[in-house]
Symmetry: C2
Subunit: 190 residues, 2 copies
């Protein structure tokens, strides 16, 4: 008996978490026991067979496909844009965006939405954020739909930069506001 049963079963669990692709034969070799022992172990630990494991891993992947699209959408979906003037985006706050401890959205998601919108409204090959000052006015929670409005200020500063004002609201209540000073290489429509 190389390794006591209990320990082996614990190892089995972590082993398959790391690599769910192992067949019973692989596992048997790994622990130097018979295939039958592996099967008993799986039975006792309620670990499904290889093919079922792959099925469930794969189905998570299919769910994840949707999820990772959402992850890219943390910037928010731009629903209206008038270049060099103003733009609007919406961002639906999910569980993944909030602190587990208090259910309040992490600040950088609101920042990301606003900053992305500020970049987008300038439609410039090289629009970079230089400075910004922000005000998180009210906590945002999962389920909230954040509407962000960006407005480009008409005056351009000496150093090729432009100021974009942003205001994010949830059900018409301001939750976040600020301004972004953006550096740009070219000025369009002026």
């Amino acid at each position: 008996m190389r390794v006591p049963k209990q320990e082996r079963q614990q190892l089995l669990v972590t082993l398959l978490e790391e690599d769910p692709f192992l067949t019973d034969e692989d596992i048997a070799r790994h622990f130097s026991v018979s295939i039958q022992t592996v099967r008993l172990d799986r039975l006792e630990c309620r670990i499904p067979e290889l093919r079922e494991r792959l099925k469930s891993v794969a189905s998570q992947q299919m769910l994840g496909t949707v999820k990772s699209m959402q992850a890219e959408e943390i910037f928010g979906e731009i629903i209206d844009a008038e270049l060099d003037n103003k733009a609007i985006s919406i961002f639906d706050v999910k569980e993944v965006h909030v602190f587990k401890r208090n259910g309040i959205a992490r600040g950088h998601h609101l920042f990301a939405q606003a900053n992305s919108l500020a970049v987008a409204v300038l439609d410039d090959d090289l629009a970079l954020t230089v400075r910004s000052s922000l005000h998180f006015q009210k906590p945002v929670r999962a389920g909230d739909r954040v509407v962000c409005r960006a407005t480009v200020r008409k005056e351009t500063l000496k150093n090729k930069s432009t100021v974009v004002d942003v205001l994010s609201t949830v059900e018409s209540e301001p939750v976040f506001s600020g301004e972004f000073q953006m550096y740009r290489t070219t000025k369009k429509g002026g």
Copy 2:
């Protein structure tokens, strides 16, 4: 013949892209042909069998697991923290963090690293960002390792809030700096 062969084979491809879990039997029913026909179709289209499909979907998931961990690590890895005083985190910039058009890191990643660090250094159940003012001093690119230092200012404002100063550097060069005014419910270690 319900549907001509070519069309059926094209449909087969998209069908399995949408749902790779279908057995040949399922597919046969779907197109009202025999299982053998489905198998010939798969052969001609070089579509592998169910189990191989699941294997490849699942292996993408396992790669994705690493990826999504990285996605959660966009906040940066905290390498040193002295609660209510100062903390340091590092964030390795990857291709996914930069604008394709100019190769420069999106501002919200730098913000996220700094803001997360500001939250972490306060170690408070309810540390929220109230205001912040930021300066993006120098573009950051893929491959750069951003080191962010956060320092908690000693004086506490009337309204239960604390100011955290942050400075991010790449190879000792400042790239980003700012301050976060954080709201907190309790003050510890004072």
